[in-house]
């Protein structure tokens, strides 16, 4: 057996769906070239949608509005609880309502540059074009965006940009957008167009004759494992940040749907591109189960600093102005506190590594609103950030109106995901991935307020247009085309799923699922977190198979598979994390350049910024699965930049 790190390089992978020609005409051109399905035939075709967040909720509602039949799944008790709900700050759109020089081209440019030139230009440009329609759509649904006294929409600024293009609903923008999608979904459920399966988790993908034809899912209440068949499958199951155990993701967010699809043949792209968000509440102890984000919008008015001197333990209010280091303002005078997330996170790590961090263990920096309160008055600060301040106070028992907040970076978002073409189709025909589950638009670093934009663009506008083409080319001709439980492939997938769960229950060892998850998470944070090295990654790659081995010898899952069993759910998700983590480390090891959220210590500029190596690494890395612990195959997608020419990012 070859070692896992001895991966092979296969044929390049190419996006064959994006049309050529001027970039601003490509989306129109693709929509025109894509085949359509006659409205009368749409009701005969079924699409499975896994997930009900912004991407999945929007897709389910829109596909049924078009006349398709949708069967949809979520692990929560209600589609309204998907983790998109926790997004705080806002959603970008190139409306240029402020008349501050914004345009579709500028949003496109900012996103490609913010992503450190590792995203596909065609996709990003389409995203910027659609951003404008998303705001219209959400307003029509009754999303209560913040408004000015004249009744028009308000906007604010976000990191990495110099215009004010972020629309928001106080600190609960994700909640309001998600409820808009949930309500549109609810209307279709009531109309009988969507068969909704809450508390049901996808455990595997069914691929028949090279096409995605269904899923295996477990009813989390009864434990029953069932098959569901369709003409196409859409994964909108979110990102995989929970590999790190501690992240800002919801506790149950997981990678199982995308990882199982990867095992069945879908390439996984850029798995090492994870975003570490600079403004999270620092951890307080070993009991910590998750980390809480404080919206990036706080960096609009809050100033980040640490003491100038090492080991300065005075309370923040006793440290005089000239003994404070507002390090972002110092190093990046033109963007100041609004530099992109990867840069802000790394800068925080650097000052903490220098011994100037604050709070328990020195793992924190101050985010100070004293100036903002003096300038705008406490009332105005309250109106803008009140709920965030309340949340901070509830968690830390400190009053941010009186003492500066303490923040530290935490895993927040994964730019990597299933490889998709311009149509958002994976390498398995009939399998689509949308939202955070795919890799498409953010390159190596996502800008703030762009996740909501991408989720809704994919769900409301892109997928509903592109999936037509696939369904038109693969029509359901007769009942004979239908896959059933009797098909040998289906039998095999079902048996594998049942065996896996039974094995988890049978080991009856002496360690809990959480103990393994925490161990893996700590390893990943140390070696595949904010700064990565060749030696560290190799160490992690040695350790992961050992943990996996120990897992299958010592895991203890109480109860049975035929009941509501939260330990079994967790353990099964960890099985997949233990494989995905390995691929993330390998991807990070092979990409020996630094770019965006991926910082290799060996590749930095003299002043410590990420040094990209475009000649060697100007590609997206799409990995093909070859077996658990077996060296995977790398397929490169060359990235061509016709409109935004790669430069070393500068925010100084």
């Amino acid at each position: 057996m070859t070692s896992y790190v001895d991966y092979t390089t296969g044929e390049p992978v190419a996006d064959t769906k994006a049309p050529s020609g001027p970039i601003n005409e490509r989306w129109d051109k693709r929509r025109f070239e894509a085949k359509l399905v006659n409205p009368a035939n749409r009701r005969k075709q079924t699409v499975i949608v896994v997930g009900t967040g912004l991407a999945g909720g929007a897709a389910g509602a829109t596909l049924t509005e078009q006349g398709y039949r949708v069967v949809q799944f979520c692990y929560s008790d209600s589609p309204r609880r998907a983790h998109s709900i926790a997004a705080q700050g806002g959603i970008n759109a190139a409306k240029n309502y402020r008349n501050d020089g914004d345009s579709i081209h500028r949003l496109f440019y900012d996103t490609v540059k913010g992503g450190d030139f590792r995203a596909r230009e065609s996709n990003v440009h389409r995203l910027a074009q659609i951003s404008v329609e998303i705001i219209d759509q959400c307003v029509a649904q009754g999303v209560p965006f913040a408004r000015e006294y004249g009744g028009l929409l308000d906007t604010r600024s976000f990191g990495g940009v110099q215009v004010s293009r972020t629309f928001y609903a106080r600190g609960q923008t994700g909640q309001q957008l998600l409820l808009g999608a949930y309500q549109a979904l609810s209307r279709q459920i009531a109309a009988g167009n969507i068969e909704m399966h809450p508390r049901t988790e996808m455990l595997d993908l069914i691929v028949v004759d090279g096409r995605a034809r269904g899923i295996v899912a477990r009813d989390l209440i009864t434990g029953r494992i069932d098959t569901h068949f369709a003409d196409a499958v859409v994964l909108a199951s979110g990102g995989y940040g929970n590999v790190f155990y501690l992240s800002t993701n919801a506790m149950n967010s997981n990678a199982t749907a995308i990882w199982r699809a990867h095992r069945r043949g879908a390439y996984f792209a850029n798995p090492c591109f994870t975003q570490i968000h600079p403004t999270c509440i620092p951890r307080t102890g070993d009991h910590q189960s998750k980390l809480t984000l404080m919206s990036e919008s706080l960096r609009n008015d809050g100033r980040i600093w640490v003491p100038r001197a090492k080991g300065d333990n005075r309370p923040p209010n006793e440290i005089p102005e000239d003994e404070r280091d507002y390090y972002l303002e110092r190093i990046y005078p033109s963007f100041g506190n609004l530099v992109p997330r990867d840069i802000a996170s790394r800068a925080a790590k650097n000052v903490c590594d220098e011994g100037r961090g604050v709070g328990p263990g020195g793992q924190g920096v101050y985010l100070d609103f004293a100036d903002a309160i003096r300038r705008m008055g406490r009332k105005a600060v309250e109106a803008k950030y009140g709920n965030l301040f309340d949340m901070y106070q509830r968690i830390t028992d400190e009053d941010p109106y009186e003492v500066p907040m303490r923040i530290y970076p935490a895993v927040h978002y994964t730019m990597g995901g299933l490889w998709v073409d311009y149509d958002l189709q994976t390498t398995i025909p009939g399998l689509f991935a949308i939202g955070e589950a795919n890799f498409s638009d953010h390159g190596a670093n996502r800008l703030g307020a762009s996740a909501l934009m991408q989720g809704l663009a994919d769900g409301y506008f892109v997928l509903p247009a592109t999936i037509n083409d696939y369904l038109a080319r693969n029509p359901r001709k007769s009942a004979a085309d239908d896959v059933t439980d009797e098909h040998p492939v289906v039998q095999e997938v079902l048996a594998e799923t049942e065996d896996r769960l039974n094995l988890l229950l049978a080991v009856d060892g002496d360690r809990t699922p959480d103990s393994f998850h925490r161990e893996l998470g700590e390893l990943m944070w140390e070696f595949c977190g904010m700064a990565r090295t060749d030696a560290g990654l190799r160490k992690a790659l040695e350790r992961i198979p050992e943990i996996r081995d120990e897992f299958w010898r010592r895991i203890k899952v109480p109860g049975t598979g035929e009941e509501f069993n939260q330990s079994l759910e967790k353990a099964n998700r960890i099985v997949d994390y233990l494989e995905l983590a390995e691929l993330m480390c390998l991807d990070a090891l092979h990409r020996s350049e630094s770019c965006g959220g991926h910082f290799r210590e060996e590749s930095q500029t003299p002043d410590g910024e990420a040094a990209r190596r475009d000649d060697e690494f100007g590609y997206a890395a799409a990995w093909e699965f070859t077996g658990t612990g077996e060296a995977p195959t790398l397929h490169k997608e060359d990235l061509v930049f016709e409109y935004v020419h790669p430069t070393q990012r500068s925010y100084a």
Partner: protein, 249 residues
Amino acid sequence: MKLTLRVWRQKNAGAEGAMSTYEVDDISPDMSFLEMLDVLNEQLILSGEDPVAFDHDCREGICGACSLVINGDAHGPERTTTCQLHMRSFKDGDTIDIEPWRASAFPVVKDLVVDRSSFDRIIQAGGYITAPTGSAPEAHATPVPKPDADFAFEHAECIGCGACVAACPNGAAMLFTSAKINHLNVLPQGAPERETRVLDMVAQMDEEGFGGCTLAGECATACPKGIPLMSITSMNKEWLRATRRASKR
């Protein structure tokens, strides 16, 4: 801190339930309430017992999944969600009672987990604005007066946790239902469906077996998002208006 927990255990929807007593030790005041339950569950798994099932997900007070009655109060002693309640609200040596939401429209699934699909069906009955994707006019075509937008937002903040129902002596869902109706009915975009929305949602609410409202006000006291009690009054006004107009047609 050392604590005694009395927890409602119920194997499944059909089984009889009962309170069971457990001890937990080394609880830090900085832990969240759910992290304290994580400690209990790790303990239970290792001793070969079934861990306590409870709903939770975002653990930052926004998804609405967590749903515990703590010492008789929905979400416990602070005005927040269970996940944002911290152990500093308790004292060393305390005995804490932990129960699921109690309401006939929220049947128990297992232990502390209940079925809240009745809330989804109330939304399905009319808690939306019909605006199929692609049909929207330019966002600035219809300005919305700021006070109306703020009123809509204040009600749209509801997280659908069900604390209002759990706290209500009658098990009524008036606050939940009124929050969505007020959010949508005040907006110009929601006007065309204003009457059908309130009539259909209230009818569905009754159908689900929620109790009647006697304005006890417990709902608004328990609501972690501060949906005001006046929300119910506004809904009643909307309902009367709609009923009157329907009878004229």
